[in-house]
């Protein structure tokens, strides 16, 4: 199981706690994890990735094992510690706004 920590607003929208656990088929890439999130929680479609471009929304970042995975591309494989559930993938909203 892959663990994912969602931003507060997306937890509220999906009706989940701070962390969700997901089965991901095949290699654990950012794109596959997001596919699994959107499959399980369809109300999150379009909130993490832009519908038109498929790209990460500008004010969100991905972190895993204390490293920034935001710019690695959707096909980059996440660290083994994320793939086997020892560490979560963190989806972080920019700390900004009024």
């Amino acid at each position: 199981m892959i663990r994912v920590v969602l931003p507060q607003h997306l937890r509220t929208l999906a009706g989940v706690g701070a962390e969700v656990a997901l089965e991901v088929a095949g290699p654990a890439t950012v794109g596959r994890v997001l596919d699994a999130i959107e499959e399980r929680y369809p109300m999150l479609r379009g909130t993490i990735r832009d519908y038109s471009t498929g790209e990460r929304r500008a004010f969100l970042r991905f972190f895993a094992c204390e490293e920034d995975w935001s710019h690695q591309g959707m096909d980059a494989e996440l660290p083994a510690a994320v793939a086997d559930g020892r560490e979560p993938l963190l989806i972080i909203g920019a700390i900004a706004g009024g």
């Binding site: 931003p7 607003h9 997306l10 929208l13 109300m43 479609r45 379009g46 909130t47 993490i48 832009d50 519908y51 038109s52 929304r57 004010f59 969100l60 909203g93 920019a94 706004g97």
Partner: protein, 371 residues
């Protein structure tokens, strides 16, 4: 007993204000979707329990929420707004070409005849339609395909399609308005569109009377006379008596003809309401006084309505979708401010009282009159 339900969208959530037909004692429910920008909330005229809300965020994009029980509970429906075909280019602020990019839904207009059908006006400007209660959306691409799109330009708030008016007597006819492109009309259910901006003069444009490029802020209609339209333009209050084919100015004795909102009395089609704003560089009311202006003659002659409204040290704005009227025997008028107040008048504007004073900045106000 009759009652009213006021649907308020704010910068940080939605609120639902309810009262019986006396409109004296109010219940405030919310915030719904706390922390999100709620550009618009509107109920179906066919089924008042069906309400649609536009929920958006700079972080998480656009969602559409739907309630089937009058706002007690909500569920997200489809939020996939993808332009039909190659989106194309419009003008950026500096006049250079810029690609069409979806940003948010500004306005939701439920059908007058079918609770499952709803229209969405979006930024960058386009019109979408759902015929399944928001479960899926498709663009009415004939609007952007009109051919003038490369000349459309964003206003300061973005290039938004903010006004959708459905003709109650002709299902094939509707009007939309875009900042800053102008007003358009379809007579074939959204398949094809024509700009209807003759008579508008916008001095910020290289050609002040061009066919498109006008910053129309809002348009209103009385359902008994769908060929008569009233417009609050960036500057100028305008009127058309021929379904938008031509416009004439009716600003008359207003202290300033800049503003955003305009609305029509529910039972008197020649009675109009606007809230003059000092200027486009100072988006607040003139002289520190919050005044609604009413014309009982279809424009030109205006009277200030001040009873119950702050007349000193007030510097709020009233945005384009933030005024509405109910249809009770004595018409109620409602508006919300950038300062978070929602004011109501149960006597057509003669006297105002705040329903609530300290909401987040109000983006939109709609009213449902309940049997």
């Amino acid at each position: 007993m009759s009652g009213v339900r006021v649907l308020v969208g704010t910068k940080k959530g939605a609120f639902i204000l309810t009262a019986d037909g006396t409109r004296k004692d109010w219940t405030v429910n919310g915030p719904y979707f706390a922390g999100w920008e709620i550009y618009h909330v509107k109920g179906s005229p066919v089924d008042p329990n069906r309400i649609y809300a536009s929920q958006s965020s700079g972080w998480f994009g656009q969602l559409i929420q739907r309630s089937d029980d009058g706002g007690a509970t909500w569920a997200p429906v489809d939020n996939k707004f993808v332009y039909d075909g190659v989106p194309g280019m419009h003008q950026w602020y500096d006049g250079t070409a810029h690609p069409w990019e979806f940003k948010r839904v500004w306005h939701l207009e439920p059908s007058l005849t079918d609770a499952e059908t709803v229209y969405a006006g979006v930024e960058d400007a386009a019109l979408f339609k759902s015929t399944d209660g928001g479960a899926s959306w498709g663009e009415l691409a004939g609007l952007r395909g009109h051919g003038s799109g490369p000349d459309w330009q964003p206003g300061a708030g973005g290039m938004c399609l903010h006004t959708i008016i459905l003709d109650p007597g002709n299902e094939q006819r509707m009007y939309i308005a875009i900042s800053a492109a102008g007003t358009f009309r379809t007579d074939d259910g959204g398949g094809s569109w024509k700009p209807i901006n003759k008579g508008l003069v916008s001095n910020f444009m290289p050609n002040p009377t061009a066919e498109v490029g006008h910053c129309v802020h809002h348009v209103a209609m009385h359902r008994s006379r769908p060929e008569v339209l009233f417009m609050q333009k960036h500057w100028d209050v305008m009127r058309s008596d021929d379904a938008g084919e031509s416009w004439r100015e009716v600003s008359g004795n207003l202290p300033t003809d800049f503003g955003f909102v305009i609305d029509v009395h529910a039972h008197e089609p020649e009675t109009l309401y606007v809230v003059p704003i000092k200027s486009d560089s100072e988006h607040f009311v003139p002289d520190g006084k919050l005044r609604v202006y009413r014309s009982r003659s279809g424009g030109n002659e205006w009277e200030p309505l001040t009873a119950g409204l702050p007349q000193q040290d007030c510097y709020v704005n009233v945005l384009r979708d933030a005024m509405a009227v109910d249809t009770l025997d004595e018409c109620g008028v409602y508006f919300g401010t950038s300062g978070g107040q929602v004011y109501a008048s149960a006597n057509a504007g003669d006297k105002w009282t705040p329903i609530v004073r300290d909401l987040p900045a109000v983006l939109s106000v709609e009213v449902q009159t309940l049997a």
